[in-house]
C-alpha cells in the first residue's frame, strides 16, 4: 500500500531524512516513534506529498508521489491524515468541516456528503455536536471529528502524526479507542505516536527513527521484547518510565 524507498530530504544543507526505506502492507498498522526532531513528521508528510523530497521514491496505492505528473490532490483525497493540532477549520461548523472536501473534491452532492459526515460523526460518538464550531469542543472531541473528517473521504489508508500529543491525559483514551477500532477493521495505518500501549495493542511493526534515519524496523513483539539498537533501547526505557 505504502512503499518508501531510499527517501532523503534536506532543508538547505541540513539533512532531515537520510535514505529511509520501509513498506506498509494493506491492512497493516505501523507505528513510527523516535525522539523529537528525528524526522517522523517530515517522513509522514512526504507520504502524501505535503513535503517534497529530493531523493528516493514513495509509491502509495500504485501512485508515485514524487512524480511531477502525479495529480497530488487526487492522491491525497484517498490518503487520510490526522494532525497533532487537529486542524479543524475554525470558521466552519463540524458538519461543514466534514462535508467540504467530499463536495469540492469528490463531487458528492451536499445531501450525500452531509449524510456520510453524520454517519461518521455518529461512529466517533459526536453526532450530537454536528452544528457546533470546533472551538466549542474539547481537544479529544476535536481530534475525533478530525478522524471522522478524514474517514469521510473513504481513504485507502490513514496517516496519523502524533494524534494524542496535544491532548490532556484524560482525553487520550477516547481518541485511541477510535484508532484501535479503525485498526481492528483492517484500515492501513501509519501512526507517529509515543503511545506504546496503543502500539502493543494494534501495531504489527514499529519503526524507530533517530536523526533522520529509520534505525529500526521490527515486528512489534520483537521491538518491545528487545530493541536491537542501543538508541531504541534508551528511547524505550525513557518513555516507558516517564
Amino acid at each position: 500500500m505504502i512503499e518508501i524507498r531510499d527517501v532523503s530530504k534536506s532543508y538547505g544543507a541540513t539533512p532531515v531524512l537520510k535514505g529511509c526505506s520501509t513498506t506498509v502492507a494493506k491492512g497493516e498498522v505501523v507505528v513510527v516513534c523516535g525522539p523529537s526532531g528525528s524526522g517522523k513528521s517530515t517522513l509522514i508528510k512526504c507520504v502524501n506529498g505535503l513535503e517534497p523530497f529530493q531523493q528516493g521514491r514513495i509509491v502509495v496505492d500504485g501512485v508515485s508521489v514524487g512524480d511531477p505528473a502525479t495529480n497530488l490532490p487526487r492522491l491525497r483525497a484517498r490518503v487520510g491524515m490526522v494532525f497533532q493540532h487537529f486542524e479543524l477549520f475554525p470558521h466552519m461548523s463540524v458538519r461543514r468541516n466534514l462535508a467540504l472536501a467530499q463536495v469540492q473534491v469528490l463531487g458528492r452532492s451536499a445531501e450525500e456528503a452531509d449524510a456520510r459526515g453524520l454517519k461518521l460523526l455518529d461512529r466517533v460518538g459526536l453526532a450530537a455536536h454536528a452544528d457546533k464550531h470546533p472551538a466549542q469542543l474539547s481537544g479529544g472531541q476535536q481530534q475525533r471529528v478530525a478522524i471522522a473528517r478524514a474517514l469521510a473521504m473513504d481513504p485507502v489508508c490513514m496517516l496519523f502524526d502524533e494524534p494524542t500529543s496535544a491532548l490532556d491525559p484524560e482525553m487520550i483514551g477516547e481518541v485511541l479507542d477510535v484508532m484501535v477500532e479503525l485498526a481492528r477493521e483492517g484500515m492501513t495505518m501509519m501512526v507517529v505516536t509515543h503511545e506504546m500501549g496503543f502500539a502493543r495493542q494494534v501495531a504489527q511493526r514499529i519503526l524507530f527513527m533517530d536523526q533522520g534515519e529509520i534505525v529500526e524496523d521490527s515486528p512489534a513483539g520483537d521491538f518491545f521484547a528487545a530493541p536491537k539498537s542501543q538508541r531504541a533501547q534508551l528511547f524505550l526505557s525513557r518513555i516507558l518510565h516517564h
Partner: protein, 220 residues
C-alpha cells in the same frame, strides 16, 4: 465677523446631505473594490511566480509612497487622457480611491493570509483540496475574519481621506459645506458643521470596531 451665526446650518442641510451621501458612496465603493483588488494583489504578492509578485509589490509600494492628494490630481488628469473622453470628478474619485486603497488593503490581507497557520493549509491539502480551493475555502475566510477590525479601521481612515476629493471639485461633504459657506458668507460655521459630522461618524464607527475586536478576540 467675530460673531458666529449657526442659523446657516438649517438651510444648508439638503446640500450637506447630498455631499455626505456621495462621501459615503465613495467610501463604500472604494472599500469593496479596494478589498477585492487588494486581496488579488495580496495573492499576487505571495505568488511563487516572481514576475507577478514583483509587479504587485511595485504597484503597492508606489501607491504607498505618493501622497494621496497627488494621486487624486494625477488620476484626474490622466484618466481622460487614457480613455479619450473627459470623466467627471466623482467618477475619477471613485477610480482613484479604489486603486489607491487597494494597495493598503493588499498589505492587510497579506498579513491576514500569513496569519493563518500552516497546518490549516496542510489539512486542506491533505483532504485533496487544490491550492486554489484551499485558499478560497480555508485561508481567505480566516484571513478576512482575523483582519476584519483592521480592514474596518482602514475604511474609517478612507472615509476621512475622501475629503481630499475637494481638490478636484467633486461634490463631497466638505465641498458641500464649502459651497454653502461661501454662498452665505459663513465659512467657519460650515467647516465646524462638516467637522462635527466627520467626527460623529468616525468616532461611533471606531467604537463599534473596538466592540467587534473584543468579540473576534474571544471567538478565536
Amino acid at each position: 465677523m467675530g460673531e458666529f451665526d449657526f442659523s446657516v446650518w438649517g438651510p444648508s442641510l439638503p446640500f450637506i446631505r447630498d455631499g455626505l451621501l456621495f462621501s459615503l458612496r465613495l467610501t463604500l465603493i472604494a472599500m469593496t473594490g479596494g478589498i477585492v483588488i487588494g486581496t488579488l494583489l495580496a495573492l499576487a504578492r505571495l505568488s511563487p511566480f516572481k514576475p507577478l509578485s514583483l509587479a504587485a509589490g511595485a504597484y503597492v509600494d508606489t501607491m504607498r509612497s505618493i501622497p494621496l492628494v497627488l494621486v487624486i490630481l494625477w488620476f484626474f488628469l490622466v484618466i481622460p487622457f487614457l480613455t479619450g473622453k473627459p470623466v467627471g470628478a466623482e467618477t475619477s474619485a471613485i477610480i482613484t480611491f479604489t486603486a489607491f486603497e487597494a494597495a493598503f488593503y493588499c498589505e492587510i490581507m497579506r498579513s491576514g493570509i500569513q496569519s493563518v497557520p500552516r497546518g490549516q493549509v496542510w489539512a486542506a491539502q491533505a483532504l485533496g483540496l487544490t491550492p486554489a480551493q484551499a485558499m478560497l475555502n480555508v485561508v481567505l475566510p480566516q484571513a478576512l475574519r482575523n483582519m476584519l477590525p483592521v480592514l474596518l479601521t482602514q475604511s474609517i481612515v478612507l472615509f476621512q481621506d475622501t475629503s481630499l476629493v475637494y481638490a478636484i471639485g467633486a461634490k463631497d461633504l466638505l465641498k458641500a459645506a464649502d459651497v454653502v459657506g461661501k454662498n452665505y458668507n459663513r465659512p467657519v460655521e460650515m467647516i465646524v458643521l462638516s467637522a462635527l459630522i466627520y467626527f460623529a461618524i468616525c468616532f461611533s464607527l471606531s467604537l463599534a470596531v473596538r466592540q467587534l475586536q473584543k468579540r473576534v478576540a474571544i471567538v478565536r
